[in-house]
């Protein structure tokens, strides 16, 4: 989003600028100034800056989102074990408190920066910017950003990532995409985690979770897997390999990518400034 090219103008508000111009008198005699600016435009600017950093250094940045305890860090640990010799991996960890997750990742032998957000229930682009300058981006192929465990707030803040991966663990129930549409709609990939527990639970239907995801007008693939048993992790690794290859191809063409679900305005933006 930006505020100079008109990409904030949607069908819902276009008439405001076409009809009355920017200034108008109100009934009480005070002056009404039309602004039409995205409330998070400052965050979005910083996110675009982060994305430039990533692209300039050939980094693929992936934002992992889920509720607390869905298995984000466990998936990272398993992925690092399997892919450490193939890709240079680093992690930015977002948590309200503690260095625990960064310590778990470092124990796997890859760099990790912990961001403790204190009271903020999400990462924002400024926090990630501080984190990325603590990493040597030239030595990184994939940067995972593990967001604060929360199914609501992280979805509103662009961090500069290229792709969003949303995790849903089987113990949370298969209706979560219907209950938290904003975050699941933002997913480029939905991972159904802890599938080793499917047998024990008995009432989580992956097909039902996918059905709810499709109702969000999402064509994102859904992958069931288990970091514990290793089941289907290969499919996740293949997805990652493909994403790394696509990022390299985009950089060679001088292009970038944002997570697939974009507001109308942002698509317009991409057209006007190729």
């Amino acid at each position: 989003m930006c505020d100079t090219c008109g990409c904030n103008v949607t069908d819902a508000n276009r008439h405001l600028i076409e009809a009355g111009g920017r200034h108008a008198k109100t009934e009480s005699g005070s002056e009404a100034v039309t602004v039409l600016q995205n409330l998070l435009s400052e965050n979005d600017r910083e996110a675009a800056h982060n994305r430039e950093h990533f692209d300039r250094h050939g980094v693929l940045a992936i934002n992992l989102m889920s509720s607390p305890g869905s298995g984000k860090t466990a998936l990272l640990e398993a992925s690092i074990d399997a892919l450490k010799s193939e890709f240079r991996i680093a992690v930015i960890e977002g948590d309200l408190e503690t260095e625990n997750d960064a310590a778990r990742v470092r124990a796997k032998g890859v760099p990790a920066v912990q961001i403790t957000t204190g009271t903020a229930c999400h990462l924002d682009a400024h926090m990630v910017h501080q984190g990325l300058h603590k990493l040597d981006l030239d030595t990184i192929d994939i940067l995972f950003i593990e967001n604060v465990g929360n199914l609501v707030c992280p979805a509103s803040f662009d961090l500069g990532q290229h792709l969003n991966v949303t995790l849903l663990s089987v113990t949370e129930g298969d209706d979560k995409p219907a209950k938290y549409p904003v975050i699941f709609r933002a997913a480029d990939l939905m991972l159904v985690t802890k599938c080793d527990l499917l047998q024990v639970l008995g009432d989580f239907e992956p097909a039902r979770a996918e059905h709810h995801l499709r109702h969000l007008a999402s064509e994102a693939p859904m992958l069931p897997l288990s970091a514990r048993s290793g089941e289907n992790l290969d499919a996740w690794f293949s997805w990652l390999r493909q994403a790394v290859a696509e990022q390299a191809a985009r950089i060679a063409r001088g292009e970038t990518a944002r997570p697939s679900i974009q507001p109308e305005g942002a698509q317009l933006h991409a057209h006007t400034h190729p």
Binding site: A12, S30, V182, Q267
Partner: protein, 121 residues
Amino acid sequence: MHELAVCQALMDQVAAVAVREAAQRVTAVTLQIGDLSGVEPQLLQDAWPIASAGSLAAGAALRIETVPLRVRCLACGGETDASPNRLVCGDCGSFRTTLISGEELMLKNVELERAATGDAA
């Protein structure tokens, strides 16, 4: 909740407008919030007095217009109403749709009182 962070970003924008327009006081602020913006209007209302306290906008009314969800179908071209967890085409049922409106998180306008300039205009 992230509504306080959103409200602080709003306050920064309102303050910038007030300075640019040489306003003495901000009397009202109007937002457009879509059903899929990820922001709860009531939580914004609750956060607004905290975010605006001690500023030119202290005491200003916060008006929130909600924007309905509309989708355009990539299969049949139809434009229909939708709900946050049902964004499929209302005409043909296809899930290949794009959002026309409903993601807005927008500062629409700011009502303000200007400093007297002395001009008799």
